[in-house]
């Protein structure tokens, strides 16, 4: 009986605990750490890649003053932007961020992604993945 149940849940694309499994356009959290003065610029830029929800936290960097100066940064005030982004838009977003980090004066930063494991609510999932169809 347990085996039958397992087979049928696999056919439905569900995990053994009954949750739906997403195999296309998984969501990730894009974490972008930049100079605080550039936070709004980067948030607008990330939003242009179909990101519908972002949160920004203000904090401080811990790098020594010599390294900051070498990187062209004047102070240690930082903004950490958390953006929920679909896997399909990620390569373009990261490529563009990398270019901005290199070319914008005082715009140096780092960005990385952390995979999202679960989410509850179909409409929330569609909102976060900008699925308008």
């Amino acid at each position: 009986m347990a085996e039958t149940k397992k087979t049928s849940s696999r056919r439905l694309g569900r995990t053994p605990d009954g949750h739906s499994r997403v195999s296309m356009n998984r969501l990730k959290i894009l974490v972008t750490t930049v100079n605080r003065a550039k936070a709004d610029f980067y948030m607008d830029h990330i939003q242009s890649f179909g990101v519908n929800m972002q949160m920004v936290f203000f904090g401080k960097g811990t790098a020594p003053q010599e390294i900051l100066a070498a990187m062209g940064l004047a102070d240690s005030d930082r903004a950490v932007i958390f953006s929920v982004i679909g896997e399909d838009r990620l390569p373009a977003a990261l490529e563009s961020l990398e270019e901005k980090f290199r070319t914008i004066a005082g715009g140096k930063g780092i960005a990385y992604t952390v995979p999202l494991k679960s989410i509850i609510g179909k409409s929330i999932f569609n909102f976060l993945s900008d699925n308008r169809s």
Partner: protein, 124 residues
């Protein structure tokens, strides 16, 4: 863009102990981190039952590190800023898929051995 060998270490400590965290992390090979301020919550009933007071003001230290030194950094944080210390810290790591913007870096030799071989995080 690089498919990374990095992990994100998050360490939540009492306010004022982020320097202890960063010192421990740097000794284990990390390069820098970002400190955020936060407020912790605790079960009031449990606090009075166990006769302990939880300081609500917290600092969250985010450190991106090479996977190779992740265990060493977590171990150092546990020793220097763990729950048995004044910092009352907890630390955990999250997987990181892609990284951009990291400056290539090589650690200086310390006590005859290199503390971190490749680029670890510098986000400060």
């Amino acid at each position: 863009m690089s498919t990374s060998n990095h992990e994100l270490i998050m360490c939540i400590v009492n306010t004022g102990f982020s320097e202890t965290v960063m010192e421990a992390a740097k000794d284990a090979g990390a390069r820098g981190g970002t400190i955020l301020n936060g407020r912790g919550t605790a079960n009031k009933e449990a606090e009075s039952f166990f006769h302990i007071a939880i300081q609500p003001e917290k600092e969250v230290v985010m450190i991106l590190v090479d996977s190779k030194i992740k265990d060493a950094v977590l171990h150092a944080l546990y020793q220097k800023a763990g729950l048995d210390t004044m910092g009352q810290g907890i630390a955990f790591s999250l997987p990181v898929d892609e990284v951009v913007g990291l400056t290539p870096w090589k650690a200086e030799e310390k006590d005859g051995k290199v503390s971190a071989q490749s680029s670890t995080a510098k986000n400060g």
